[in-house]
Symmetry: C2
Subunit: 313 residues, 2 copies
Amino acid sequence: MKRCVLLVSALCTAFSFSSQGQEKTLQEKLGYPRDAKLLIVHADDLGVTHSVNAASIKALESGGINSASLMVPCPWFPEIADYAKSHPDADFGLHLTLTSERVYYRWGPAAPLDKVPSLVDANGYLHHDWSAETHIDPKDVETELRAQVAKALAMGVKPTHLDSHQNRLFQTNKELFEVILRVGHENQLPVLIPRGWFAEFPFLEKTITPNDVVIDQVITMEPGLAPEKWNDLYRDALNHLPPGVTEFVIHLAYADDEMKAATRERATWGAEWRQRDFDFFSSAAFQRLLRENNIHLITWREIGRVMNAKPEK
Amino acid sequence: MKRCVLLVSALCTAFSFSSQGQEKTLQEKLGYPRDAKLLIVHADDLGVTHSVNAASIKALESGGINSASLMVPCPWFPEIADYAKSHPDADFGLHLTLTSERVYYRWGPAAPLDKVPSLVDANGYLHHDWSAETHIDPKDVETELRAQVAKALAMGVKPTHLDSHQNRLFQTNKELFEVILRVGHENQLPVLIPRGWFAEFPFLEKTITPNDVVIDQVITMEPGLAPEKWNDLYRDALNHLPPGVTEFVIHLAYADDEMKAATRERATWGAEWRQRDFDFFSSAAFQRLLRENNIHLITWREIGRVMNAKPEK
C-alpha cells in the first residue's frame, strides 16, 4: 500500500513538471485539455490460461477494461489470437514474454530453443526467474521478441502496442530496453513507457527518442495488500487520479480449477488475486468512480496515432 | 459399436491361435494360468490439461485406472511429472506426441523447432493433423522422441512403457514404428504392441523382434457411439473379455471450463467424452464387473520385467 501511494505522489510531481513545459502534453495531442484525466484500463497476460482469456474477454465486452496485451508463447494464445482476429477493433498489444514463472504449468519460447539459449532452462522452458547468475543475452532477447511479433502477425493479430511480462524489458537494464524499443520502432508500435519509472530506472529516459510516447504513470497492485483493502486502493487511486495519462495494469481471471492449479505455489498474481481484480473492474462502483472523477478512457490505438502522426509544421 | 465388436472377435481368433503354440503365453510369463484374463486399465493424455491430470490422478488413487501415459511436450506436463516423481510406484509411461490436434490450445515439440521441421506448422506448433501431403521425416521423429524421453527423465519421470498419441507411431508406416521400437529398445521399455492391430497394419508384426512383448488387444472407445450406450459397450467388453492381456485405452477428464474450452471445436475425445470415461471407470459397477469376470489387473511395469528377464535356460 505504502509503495503504491508513494508511487502516485512521485508521479504527480513528475506530471506537474512536464505540464509546465511549452510542448503539448500527451493529453493535448490526444485532443483533450491539459488538465484531462485519461485512463487506459489494461489487462495483462491474455493467452496464459483459458481462465485469463475468458475473464478478460468478459471484462472487455462489459466495459471493465478497454485494452489488454497477449502472451504469444503461451498455450492458450491461439484462443485469444482467434478472438483478436475476429475483433479487429479490440485494443490488443503484445505482452512480450521472457519468463515462464509458474511451477506446474509452463511454456517455452516462440523462437527455436537452440537460437535463444540464454532464455531457457535445461528442460526447454523460459526461465522460471532470473537470478544474479542468469546471463540474459540481449541478442537472444531480440531473436525471441522478433519471433513473438512474427508469430502474432502470422496468426492474424494486429497489435496496437508492446509491453513486457513482469516488466523484464523495462526494469532490467538499458540493453534489454533498447531491444523492445527497437522492435517497437520497426513495427511502428508504441511501447509502454511511464514517466513514473524514470527515477528508479534512469536508463529509460536516457534511451527513448523524441518519437517515443511517454505516459505519466502506471498503477498496479503489488504484493502485500490485504484482500479486504483491495477495492479501497483502487477507489483511492481513482479519486486522486492526477491529470495526464495513467494506465491501470490489472490481471484478470476466474478463481476456477485451472487457474487455482496453475498458480497454486504462491498467492501473488494467483487465482484469487485475479478474481479480485475481475470483481472490482467489473463492478458498478468502478464505473461510478470513473464518472464521478471525470475520467476519460483512452486506448493504445490512439496513442499509436499520436506517435505515428507527422510532426506539425 | 460394430467396429469394436468386430475388433474383439478378431482378437479372440488371434489369441486362440497363439495360445495353441508351444511357447509360454504372456499371461503365463506373468505368473498367471494360460486362461487368465489380464487387464491394464490405461488412461492416455496425462499432461495435456490440468483437468486431465486431476481426473486421472483421482482415478489412479481410487483404483479406476492402474496405468497411464504422459504427454511430454504439453503445458501441464510439469504438474504430472511432479506427481510421478513423488509417486515412483505409479505405472506411468510416455505417450509420445507428434501432433497438437486442438484448435484453441496448442503446443510445440520438445526438440528445437528447427531440428524437427517436418513435424511443425508455420506457427511452431506440432501439426494439427497429417494429411496425405504432410511429409513426416522419420529422422525428425527420432529427434523428437529422444527429446521427449530425455526431458521426461531430466524432470524425474521413470517411465514403465512407451505408447503413441493418436497411435501415429503405430498406424502410419513401418519407418515410424521402427523409430518408437528403437527408442523402446534403447531404454529397455516395452512398447504397446497389440496383436489385434497386426491384420490392419502388417508392418507391425514384420518389424518386431523376439524380445518385444506383444499383448493381445486394445479396447478403446471410437467415435460414433451414442453417449447412452457408452457404459453398455464397456460392460459387454468386460463380460466377454477373452483370456490373455487386454489394455483398455481410456481418456479421463472433468467436463469443466478448461476442458470444454480446450476441446470445443469437436466432441470426439472432448470434455463430455472424457467425463463419461471418468464416470464409468470410477463406478462401483466397473469394479463389480472386474470381480464377476475374474479379471486380474496388471501393469506395464510387470510386462517390462518379462521383457527384460533373461531367457530361461
